[in-house]
């Protein structure tokens, strides 16, 4: 036993690892990422780079915000994230900037980052966690897994449990609600909506809303005004371009025969709350549920 410890100590010294500082040398942590890969860190990650604004937000929510050393452009939530050093944008990474930060964990965005660049990071021996959070369950489990890698399990677990509880509460409250047909407008020109696989559709479903374009094959399909008029949604919800931008909603008032316009069921929700799959989505979902309740009252 003693000999074994000596050998370990020698190896550690030989590798130049200053393991004593973190005090937990050899306690490797492994989790499974959203791509089904096993991701291991020798020691709790202390220099993390997040490769999408959403992933940055997840890491903060998991309590690992202080361990972030780099993020990509548009990572603006929470406010502290805006101060992080930038390593390019999510679709064009600056590998040199990343390596200069000597990360011990990179959290990549499945499908959002250039595959070749991420693979090069893996080849360089940097642990990479692929994140593909696109529903409440994955958001919650992502928090816990990221928390495990960063050794912030306590915060992560608490946030995840709270998220699960709030979602369950919403689900219970609206389980028997009358369905409301909804057109969710992502963008105006071109006119774009979301299909059934998007988390916003799941948020709608939680509140008893039915996405009118759920059957579309593209995640963010571009559609025509005519199709919206033809399907005549009972409510139109949009995040607009930013804070309380009513212009997109007002454009629909040109068609007073639409049910949504006639009933004044045109709703704005803060796009920040729904455009990323993060714990804030539950706040956005609460807003959606509130709006759909109003729709039912106006019937």
């Amino acid at each position: 036993m003693t000999r074994l410890l000596i050998v370990l100590g020698v190896v550690a010294l030989a590798l130049g690892v200053a393991g004593a500082a973190s005090g937990e040398a050899g306690a490797a942590v492994c989790v499974t990422d959203d791509a089904g890969r096993e991701v291991c860190v020798e020691r709790p990650a202390e220099r993390i780079i997040a490769l999408s604004p959403g992933v940055t937000e997840l890491l903060y929510a998991a309590g690992a915000g202080e361990r972030l050393v780099g993020a990509v452009s548009f990572s603006d939530h929470p406010a502290a994230a805006a101060e992080l050093p930038r390593v390019g944008s999510s679709d064009r990474l600056d590998l040199e900037a990343m390596l200069a930060l000597s990360p011990d964990l990179v959290v990549a965005w499945s499908g959002g980052n250039p595959e070749e660049q991420v693979e090069r990071l893996i080849r360089l021996g940097i642990p990479v966690f692929y994140s593909a959070a696109d529903d409440f369950a994955t958001i919650a489990s992502s928090l816990e897994r990221l928390g495990a890698l960063a050794n912030t399990q306590a915060t992560a677990h608490q946030t995840a449990s709270q998220l699960r509880a709030e979602v369950a509460a919403l689900r219970r409250r609206h389980a028997d609600a009358e369905p409301v047909s909804v057109f969710y407008q992502v963008w105006e020109s071109p006119l774009m909506t979301l299909n059934g696989e998007h988390w916003v559709s799941q948020a709608l479903a939680l509140c008893g809303g039915v996405n009118l374009f759920a059957e579309q094959s593209a995640l963010v399909p571009r559609i025509g005004v005519e199709a919206v008029l033809g399907r005549d949604p009972e409510a139109i919800i949009t995040g607009g371009r930013g804070k309380a931008d009513a212009a997109w909603l007002d454009a629909w008032r040109e068609f007073p025969d639409m049910t949504a316009v006639r009933q004044d069921n045109l709703f704005f929700i803060n796009p920040d709350l729904v455009q990323r799959a993060t714990p804030r989505l539950v706040e956005g979902t609460r807003d959606i549920c509130r709006h759909l309740e109003a729709v039912r009252e106006r019937r």
């Binding site: 679709d91 963008w187 020109s189 774009m192 374009f213 963010v220 025509g224 005004v225 025969d257």
Partner: protein, 332 residues
């Protein structure tokens, strides 16, 4: 009856092709009204056109399909007319406003406006200014200190177009992700942006009225500047007029529907292969055929994978390129 007789039979002799094209234009408009992501039975459509019908059908046909079909027609007509004029100006059957970098200038200006977060109307105004600025740059540089020649102008335009292309790539690279779909659709041409069909239709009609009496002069100009001068044409003034008019038409078209390629190049060329090169026939024929082509292409773009919408520029290319190549292959 040989072609020479045909060409010089006067008005009656040259009607048939225009009559056919007019019929095709009307047919395309009809098709654009019938087809859409919502199926409207023909009798319901008839009721709407007669002034009655269901309220939803009225909205769909009168407020969505009709203005858009007319805008498509006007835009296509403008692009084809501008192409026909540019080809005479440069004495090159393969010239068009896009080759000369006009749409590139318009695109860069439009993308900048989108990047700045401007609304539809400011994007349109910006693209108009961009097209005109590009016009002036190309013409100014082609003039330079030396003499003006079609080759020099074509080269200047091609190089400018390449420069604009690089700027477009740059702008797409630095733009936020959520802006990209709008930008890409604009770059490929999209009639969903067309607010009202009247500007394009008005400009198309007005420019045809200006150019028709000059048709014979253009015929002479197409044979070269010296030949035209000898036959009494004020070549310099005529070339300025052609260039400014073609640029204006392109600017209006681009402003209405984004940057739609191929129409200005293909339509006049295909017509020349079939009808000869009398501008008095080619100019109105280009207007009608360009309008018809774009109306059909836009109807396809709206309905092919409805309710999803495709950019119309992709359709014009997919329709136009094979038929153009076929005609070219068949013509000696």
């Amino acid at each position: 009856m040989n072609d020479a007789d045909f060409s010089f039979r006067g008005r009656a002799g040259r009607m048939p092709p225009l009559v056919w094209l007019l019929l095709a234009a009307l047919l395309s408009q009809g098709l654009a009204l019938v087809l859409g992501s919502v199926a409207i039975p023909l009798d319901a459509l008839g009721a709407v056109l007669a002034g009655g019908g269901e309220s939803l059908h009225r909205t769909l046909v009168l407020e969505l399909r009709l203005p858009r079909a007319l805008a498509a027609f006007g835009t296509g007509g403008l692009l084809a007319l501008a192409g026909a004029l540019m080809q005479v100006l440069l004495r090159n059957p393969l010239a068009d406003p896009y080759v000369l970098g006009l749409s590139g200038g318009a695109s860069v200006a439009a993308l900048l406006a989108m990047l700045a977060g401007f609304g539809t109307s400011l994007v349109a105004g910006s693209s108009f200014a961009g097209a005109l600025a590009s016009t002036l740059i190309v013409f100014g540089l082609a003039h330079g200190t030396g003499s003006w020649t079609p080759t020099r102008m074509l080269l200047t335009g091609v190089v400018m177009a390449a420069g604009w292309g690089a700027l477009i790539s740059f702008l797409l690279t630095v733009s936020p992700v959520e802006q990209l779909p709008g930008m890409l659709y604009w770059l490929m041409g999209d009639l969903a942006y067309a607010d009202s069909p009247w500007p394009v239709l008005g400009v198309a009609a007005a420019s045809l009225l200006v150019m028709l009496p000059l048709g014979r002069t253009l015929n002479v100009l197409a044979r070269g500047g010296l030949q035209a001068a000898v036959l009494g044409v004020n070549v310099r003034r005529m070339e300025w007029l052609l260039y400014l008019l073609a640029s204006l038409l392109t600017a209006v078209a681009v402003t209405t529907a984004g940057s739609i390629g191929f129409v200005g190049l293909m339509v006049p060329h295909m017509l020349r292969l079939k009808l000869g090169n009398d501008q008095r026939l080619i100019l109105p024929a280009s207007l009608l055929a360009g309008g018809t082509l774009l109306t059909l292409a836009d109807t396809l773009a709206r309905t092919m994978v409805a309710p999803q919408q495709l950019p119309v520029g992709v359709i014009t290319a997919l329709l136009g390129v094979p038929s153009f190549l076929y005609l070219l292959y068949r013509s000696r």
